[in-house]
């Protein structure tokens, strides 16, 4: 007896000209995919599998790992206050960087999109900081924001403003890092600019004829049109925040006055562990304290959080694209 859905499926196959595949039909596509598959297996699947295994072991990088069950995860949750501090710092950076980066990049891109004369020059100038290597950019930034000798506080003092201690004050170190991240967000600005320039001009013309002003056109035409690019910007900023490392280490080293030993355990997190991010603490545990099993458990947690955020936003992206297609 054939049920209705089975019959419907069979009818669809016949209509689509479906035939039973020949034996070995998968060899050719697999051969074409082999380089990517091998790369995936060697550089992602195996390391991820190894990481999961090591996260349940005591492993010092040199001797055979010893199985300890959930001990590393229990230590992470209950016995490591610095991991909690590092997680807080990372979440702070993720939230603040994502929000401000999106607002800043969208604003700058909107201005750049309206510039007619010298557009190339302005786009180049805005993108230029993104080309600076992270270490060099952070060094320059920390010197600019030096509370004693930096030009930023000097300029603020001309207006009677007492500048903060920036990277030497636990309350201002993360805002300082956020400003640095905004300064080098040229890539996102260029991507958003491309999205804005891609919005059909007729939409603006029609809205103009209906009496819509600049703000309404931006809100009702530009933003919905570039929504997929904005979602990409959100994902990109979240991952940037979750992986925040180099700038935090360099800023801490420079601000503590020990720039030559960047990454040394004496200076990470300066001041008062306010710049200690989750990846920095993870690296410190794995490669300086030789707790690679524990560092693996921390990596798994970071990976899980990144994956959840990414899946969430990819799902949102697809839903948005689907809704756009339906419209």
């Amino acid at each position: 007896m054939t049920t209705k859905p089975q019959a419907a499926r069979a009818a669809r196959f016949v209509l689509a000209g479906w035939t039973r595949p020949r034996p070995g039909h998968w060899v050719r596509p697999l051969a074409f995919m082999a380089p990517a598959l091998i790369g995936f297996a060697v550089f992602f699947a195996y390391p991820l599998g190894a990481l999961v295994y090591y996260s349940f072991t005591r492993y010092d990088l040199l001797n055979t790992p010893v199985w300890v069950g959930l001990r590393n995860y229990a230590f992470l949750v209950a016995q490591d206050p610095l991991a909690r501090k590092a997680a807080y710092n990372t979440v702070w950076l993720v939230v603040v960087i994502t929000v401000l980066r999106l607002i800043f990049a969208t604003g700058v891109a909107a201005v750049l999109a309206r510039i007619r004369n010298g557009a190339g020059l302005f786009r180049t100038l805005i993108y230029l900081p993104a080309l600076a290597p992270p270490v060099a950019a952070t060094l320059v930034f920390t010197f600019l924001f030096n509370p004693g000798t930096g030009p930023v506080n000097t300029v603020l003092s001309w207006f009677g403003i007492q500048g903060p201690l920036w990277f030497s004050d636990p309350a201002w170190a993360k805002p300082g890092l956020t400003l640095l991240t905004l300064w080098v967000s040229g890539e996102l600005i260029i991507i958003l600019l491309a999205g804005m320039l891609d919005v059909p001009g007729e939409l603006y013309e029609a809205a103009g004829l209906d009496g819509a002003g600049s703000l309404r056109r931006f809100w009702h035409i530009t933003l919905p049109s570039i929504a997929p690019v904005l979602v990409f910007g959100v994902i990109n900023s979240i991952i940037l925040g979750l992986q925040y490392f180099t700038q935090a280490v360099v800023a801490a080293s420079v601000a503590s006055g020990s720039a030559d030993i960047a990454g040394s355990q004496r200076v990470i997190g300066y001041p008062d562990n306010s710049t200690l991010t989750f990846p920095v603490w993870l690296y410190q545990q794995g490669f300086h304290y030789y707790n690679m099993g524990y560092a693996s458990a921390m990596s798994i947690v970071l990976f899980a959080v990144s994956t959840v955020f990414t899946l969430l936003f990819v799902h949102r992206l697809r839903r948005g694209a689907h809704a756009e297609g339906m419209a």
Partner: protein, 439 residues
């Protein structure tokens, strides 16, 4: 047939000793190569540029003594790279590390070979090494490294500023240091600091807890092997002193002042620029000053000690460069000969010490007329020879316990810890918990 026999014998030896060139004796040591046996050694260190050249000179001296052994001298190799090479099964024959933080891990994991059998076999007298340097080259009975030059910390003070303030001798106790600093500090009309007598901020330049600890006579571990932060009253005394010192300047005022000072290893160093009157620093600062501020009118002395521990005066903190033979080294017998030469040969150590401006790490090598004639440097030779020379204990998780102690000290100094005793007890518990994670 004969060739096959030789090859078979060689293979058998290789299986036993890890290679035809490294014959292991019953004492667990590899023999030094015979005089007619050509051996090539690789040495990895973090030295670079001029300093790598100075090491090469010392290695040339070794080659003169052992013409059959050639040495490949590779610089810019840090502990991470050496550890990776050991894991990969292709380590150097000899490794030189700039840090003593990892000695616990090197010894306990077997990453660096135990040198005790070699020392016993060659009847090497370890009494030529001060006790502190012996401490930072071994862990739980395993001696997996030898000291190769040392850094010793003392007091640098600006003589011109001392004279202006009417002070004729360096401070000997922490109370004197505080009082002198008050006299030497100069404020701007707006109340900001122009010249600091002494910057007490923990984490600033060489102000690290392990370095101060030597002069306060604090204990890191109790009899039970657990952290003594919560039980040794000297910890409390040291941090209360640091807090009082900070409050004299004002936390924010001091933070703004230190943020504007030059980096520790730059020509803008605050002591070299005359922005601070007294500082704790290593013997290597004498070389920086000679090169970057030759006109600076300064002197050196042992760092002051806790008021209740006057007997400690003359000593201080030491750490240094260490040298060892990694696990899997292809020529361990020849490697040991090189380790022995670099760590105990008086002429080799003195040559390196003169070039690098570090303290030679054996007692006989301290008697170097060239090093002794520099009054600034001589202070550090004397501190090194003092019975009160001290270092921090090795641990199997690197410097994790130092970070915990320093983080707590910084938090207390910044005013965010209301109960010092309870906080120290909590920090001690954290140190013990961290030790359990890797052990």
């Amino acid at each position: 047939m004969r060739r096959i026999g030789v090859a078979t014998a060689c293979l058998a030896l290789a299986l036993i000793a890890g290679g035809c060139g490294a014959v292991t004796s019953s004492s667990g040591t590899a023999d030094a190569p015979a005089a007619n046996e050509k051996v090539s050694l690789s040495v990895w260190s973090k030295f670079s540029g001029r300093e790598l050249g100075l090491l090469q000179k010392a290695l040339d001296g070794f080659h003169v003594k052992h013409p059959n052994i050639t040495v490949d001298n590779r610089g810019s190799q840090d502990d991470d790279k050496v550890a990776q090479a050991i894991r990969g099964g292709n380590p150097p024959d000899v490794a030189i590390s700039f840090s003593t933080d990892n000695i616990g891990q090197f010894c306990s994991s077997g990453a660096w070979q135990d040198l005790k059998p070699y020392i016993t076999r060659d009847k090497l007298d370890l009494n030529q090494l001060p006790a502190a340097t012996r401490t930072y080259t071994e862990f739980k009975g395993a001696r997996c490294a030898m000291p190769l030059l040392a850094d010793v910390y003392g007091l640098y003070y600006n003589k011109a500023m001392f004279a202006k303030a009417g002070i004729s001798t360096p401070p000997k106790t922490m109370s004197e240091l505080f009082e002198y600093a008050k006299k030497l500090t100069v404020f701007n009309p707006d109340g900001s600091i122009k010249v600091a007598g002494f910057v007490p901020t923990i984490g600033f330049y060489s102000n690290h807890v392990q370095m101060w600890a030597a002069n306060w006579g604090v204990q890191w571990k109790g009899q039970d092997g657990k952290s003594a932060l919560g039980t040794d009253p000297q910890w409390q005394a040291m941090l209360e002193w640091a807090k009082k010192f900070t409050d004299f300047y004002g936390r924010d005022k001091l933070a703004k002042f230190t943020a504007g000072l030059g980096q520790e290893y730059s020509p803008d160093h605050a002591f070299e620029k005359g922005q601070i009157a007294m500082a704790m620093d290593g013997e290597y600062r004498t070389a920086f000053i000679a090169a970057e501020a030759p006109d600076l009118d300064y002197a050196t002395a042992p760092f002051p000690v806790a008021d209740n521990k006057p007997e400690l005066y003359g000593g201080g903190y030491t750490t240094g460069t260490i040298i060892g033979v990694p696990k899997g080294a292809k020529n361990p017998g020849a490697a040991w000969e090189l380790v022995k030469y670099l760590s105990t040969d008086t002429a080799a150590l003195q040559g390196l010490a003169q070039g690098l401006k570090n303290v030679p790490s054996t007692v006989p090598a301290l008697q170097d007329p060239t090093l002794q004639q520099d009054e600034h440097f001589k202070t550090f030779l004397e501190i090194f020879a003092s019975p009160n020379l001290a270092t921090n204990p090795a641990s199997s998780n690197g410097g994790a316990y130092i970070k915990t102690a320093e983080d707590f000290a910084t938090a207390y100094q910044g005013g965010s810890v209301p109960d010092l005793k309870a906080g120290l007890t909590k920090a001690a518990a954290q140190i013990d918990a961290d030790a359990q994670l890797g052990g």
